[in-house]
């Protein structure tokens, strides 16, 4: 038995190596990306030293660094950072689950889509921060209202991206599943969810980003701890270094959680064969 076109092993190995960027080039690119911020920080610091920049309103990087260090030593940084991160994660998990379930329902069932999607689309146009006062009235000023606010922010991008991605899954793959008599739920689990995973990861990452935005709004309007509280506190006590230190922390935590999510998502989307693999780019 001969197979004329048994593809030789080297084809397979080239395919595989394409999936990963060579580490040297990746490190080089990372280094290039650092040039501009490093130069800007240096100018900033030198400008402050020479008295060209008012350090009262714009503290130099070294002052922000020492503020961060002080906040860390007193335990405030960890405390506030943890409070904020837990709120974001709680809201994210809640919003992501509801967004995934409703997104799947909307992608699979035309009836569900025509019944609920218009309402959800209309609600989406309300700037979600406008809900904050109402949420505080309804759910109090403590954790419940904050987590629900964040969940609302996370929900929309997850729902929209996921329902859209499911609707665009190759009908021919779905037909294979139908051929085996799979139930609607099994179709979602075994075909629609994995097939739309690359876009779902994008929706989740967008949702997480919005979650970090919403936590600030939620913490502005009444919180006794959290990085958003630290921001307001820095403003009220006239300490710009504290404000910028909080901003740096937001950037850092947002980036870290996004990378973690992208790495986890990457495990489920490695199979992609597109020009650029969707959902895993930094």
């Amino acid at each position: 038995m001969t197979h004329l076109l048994e593809s030789p092993a080297e084809t397979v190995s080239t395919e595989r190596s394409r999936a990963t960027t060579p580490p040297v080039r990746a490190r080089l690119r990372f280094g290039t990306g650092l040039v501009f911020p490093a130069a800007a920080l240096l100018c900033w610091e030198v400008g402050a030293l020479l008295g060209l920049i008012s350090t009262r309103l714009i503290p130099p990087p070294s002052a922000i660094g020492s503020t961060l260090w002080d906040l860390f030593l007193t335990g405030n940084l960890v405390g506030h950072g943890t409070a904020t991160t837990l709120r974001v994660l709680g809201g994210f998990v809640l919003g992501a689950i509801v967004g995934t379930v409703l997104g799947a329902a909307s992608g699979v069932s035309e009836r569900f889509e025509s019944t609920f999607d218009p309402t959800l689309q209309a609600l989406r146009n309300i700037p979600s921060i406008a809900w904050t006062p109402l949420f505080i009235l309804w759910f109090g000023i403590f954790e419940t209202s904050k987590v629900l606010m964040i969940a609302l922010g996370v929900f929309f991008p997850v729902y929209l991206t996921f329902s859209g991605a499911i609707a665009s899954v190759d009908r021919r793959l779905v037909e294979v599943g139908q051929g085996y008599g799979l139930s609607r739920f099994a179709l979602v689990r075994r075909i629609l969810l994995p097939a739309s995973m690359p876009h779902h990861v994008i929706g989740l990452r967008n949702g997480l980003g919005l979650g970090w935005m919403f936590v600030v709004a939620a913490e502005f309007l009444g919180a006794s701890e959290g990085l958003g509280y630290l921001l307001v506190d820095g403003q009220q006590t006239g300490r710009p270094a504290v404000i910028i230190a909080s901003i740096v922390m937001f950037a850092l935590l947002g980036r870290i959680t996004d990378r973690v999510l992208a790495a986890v998502g990457g495990r489920y989307t490695r199979w992609q064969d597109g020009y650029v693999r969707v959902g895993v780019k930094t």
Partner: protein, 243 residues
């Protein structure tokens, strides 16, 4: 094994694709459906597969009326339709119920199509011919009594197509499923089938049936082969463009 009586199919856009189709396929028989584009041969296959519902008539597979896709028929489409996120072994096992033997059943089917060394490969790492062999393994792994092939090799280049035609026959010997093959390639039909059914017209009807009485394995340069080629071409000519 397959009993089609008076089947017709009108699509929702009003197009009548098939009418008055009577076709019986015996157990272990291999029947090829050929005809010009638009004659409804793929529609007939999809009716037998339960992927479409007939608007008139009745279709029975393995003694039961077809009321939707079920496990009595394995289908191979023109495209491999593999799940790109599953490796070869898991793609083949896709239709198996989760059970302890699923893995070894899948491996046996993969061995049948000669792809054991690619069991862990992802679909993107396979050539077109290899991907189509995986699709055949997936269709057969549940050992359905009926195998339905919808132009399975028409998207492949000529060398791969001839290779796979020979290969399909070997795989078929595994348990000799009752097979319906849709093709627009007369040679392919004559190489593989015990009987060639020519469809034509609009709506499509059966215009000719040829029993191919040639020894196996068949070759295109066998003396008798040309005789059947002429018969098939004669039936096809006058049916409009060959698709």
């Amino acid at each position: 094994m397959i009993e089609v009586s008076g089947a017709a199919k009108r699509y929702s856009n009003g197009l009548l694709a098939l009418s008055g189709i009577d076709l019986t396929v015996d157990t272990h028989e291999v029947v090829a459906l050929i005809g010009p584009s638009g004659c409804g041969k793929s529609t007939l296959l999809r009716l037998i597969a339960g992927l479409e519902t007939p608007t008139a008539g009745r279709i029975e597979v393995a003694g039961h009326e077809v009321r939707g896709p079920d496990r009595s028929a394995g289908v191979v489409f023109q495209e491999p339709r593999l799940m790109p996120w599953l490796n070869v072994a898991r793609n083949v096992a896709f239709g198996l119920e989760p059970q302890p033997d699923a893995g070894s059943d899948a491996l046996e089917a993969i061995e049948r199509v000669g792809l054991t060394s690619f069991a862990d490969a992802l679909p993107r790492e396979l050539s077109g011919g290899m991907a189509q062999r995986v699709a055949i393994a997936r269709a057969l792994v549940t050992k359905p009594p009926v195998l339905l092939l919808d132009e399975p090799f028409s998207a492949l280049d000529a060398f791969t197509r001839i290779d796979l035609q020979r290969h399909l026959r070997e795989v078929w010997d595994w348990y000799r499923p009752t097979t319906v093959l849709v093709t627009h390639d007369v040679d392919e039909a004559l190489i593989l089938a015990d009987r060639v059914v020519v469809l034509g017209g609009s709506p499509g009807t059966i215009v000719r049936e040829l029993i191919v009485d040639l020894a196996r394995p068949r070759r295109r340069d066998d003396t008798g082969f040309h005789h059947y080629q002429d018969l098939a071409m004669a039936a096809l000519s006058g049916l409009g463009t060959r698709g």
